[in-house]
Amino acid sequence: MKKRLALLLALFLALASLSASFAETASEPLQVDLDLSKMSGTIVYAEIYNLQYDPGAYLGKVIRVRGYYSFFREPSNGHIYYACVIPDATACCMQGMEFVPFTEPEDPDHFMEDNADITVTGRLEIYVEDGSSYLHLVDASVEQNSED
């Protein structure tokens, strides 16, 4: 009996500690590896270009970018893609970074105003769709910047 109780107690403690650590992970803000929101437009352009050209060096890193919110719904399957459009110094070579919000918005159409000034923080991952590879920021937190 004592053995069973001890075993149950150990199991309970293990589950409790596991759930506590999971809760910590979920609420803990991501440690940013590359903060592009604080860099000049020239460097941001070069970093995004390098990131797309040679993603291997950036995969798994937590990246923060600042840009304009945009979203697109694929008509064929209804899949929604969220993006942060990053303008560059010359305003002719805009780049986009797709992201997946940490929690899927209940109403994606009204998640955020189109072209809103946002800062996105997420972990860079690669995914394959229809035979092509794409980059996106997963577990992304999105903040709307105040007009300053």
Binding site: M39, S40, T42, I43, A46, Y49, Y53, A89, T90, C93
Partner: protein, 281 residues
């Protein structure tokens, strides 16, 4: 600001940009003096448009290394434009203008017909104004730029006296046994190489500034060929460095920031020249 700069300098592409930028600025200023004195200031503009057209063709052909096409095409056009024009049916400035706008138009037309990316405006903007291309160089491109720049500098230093002779009085140089045509060919080839390299730094529309401004600035202050060449080289390198650093820190377009620095240096040199004249009189 220093901390920010030190952070940016940790990125390899920023270091590549500074190295390549300095080398290209040095090369363009060396030959710039010769071109200005030979009344060929506008040839850089014409050849850069040829390079743009060739780059468009290379893009359409999906060449992995577009230099393989851009460099020889620009060289051929440079030779055609700089060859002695006594027997040519289309003379000097008209030939440059025709080749220049022709290549630009055909290049843009090809890019539009055979789109290779979704951001055509961005691609054209980058090629014409060199928006940020200097910051996106790959190590292989950096080594190519490095090798070609060193070759240009060595050629210039090795043939300095002959280039000097051909620049000032081609007929006299020919009369004294100098193979003027061969040296003109050399100058044309070197100019083509510089144009192709400089497209990365300032884009094809702003290349002329890199060739003309340092030479003209130096000519305000100095009078001998050697001192003008040395001053032009120093000014060009300083302006390229200043432009690059300002562009990186302030987030401004690289090519136009470098040219703005060249304009500022020209105005300063004009001021110094005025002061010199006042002191003499």
């Amino acid at each position: 600001m220093i901390d920010t700069l030190m952070t940016y300098l940790q990125f390899p592409y920023v270091r590549y940009a500074l190295i390549v930028g300095v080398l290209i600025a040095l090369c363009s200023s060396l030959l710039g003096v010769t071109l200005v004195l030979k009344r060929f200031s506008y040839i850089g503009d014409g050849l850069s448009h040829v390079a743009f057209g060739a780059m468009a063709v290379a893009g359409v052909l999906h060449l992995s290394n577009n230099m393989l096409l851009v460099l020889p095409v620009t060289m051929i056009c440079a030779i055609l434009l700089l060859r002695p024009g006594r027997n040519a049916r289309i003379k000097g400035d008209a030939a440059i203008a025709m080749i220049s706008v022709g290549a630009l138009a055909v290049g843009y037309l090809l890019l539009n017909i055979f789109k290779s990316s979704g951001n055509l405006a961005g691609d054209v903007c980058t090629t014409l104004f060199g928006s940020m291309s200097i910051l996106t160089l790959r190590p292989a491109e950096v080594w190519l730029c490095f090798g070609l720049s060193i070759a240009v500098i060595i050629l210039f230093l090795f043939f300095y006296n002959r280039i000097f002779a051909v620049t000032f009085d081609e007929d006299f140089a020919r009369a004294t046994g100098t193979k003027a045509d061969a040296y003109n060919l050399l100058i044309a080839t070197v100019i083509a190489v510089i144009i192709v390299l400089a497209m990365n730094l300032v884009g094809s529309l702003l290349i002329s500034a890199l060739i003309i401004f340092p030479a003209m600035s130096a000519m305000r202050v100095f009078k001998s060929f050697r001192s003008v060449t040395v001053c032009s080289a120093v000014l060009s390198v300083c302006c390229a460095l200043a432009g690059l650093l300002i562009s990186i820190l302030a987030g401004t377009p690289t090519g136009s920031t470098i040219v703005a620095a060249d304009i500022a240096a020209f105005l300063v040199c004009c001021g110094i020249a005025k002061l010199q004249r006042r002191t003499v009189s």
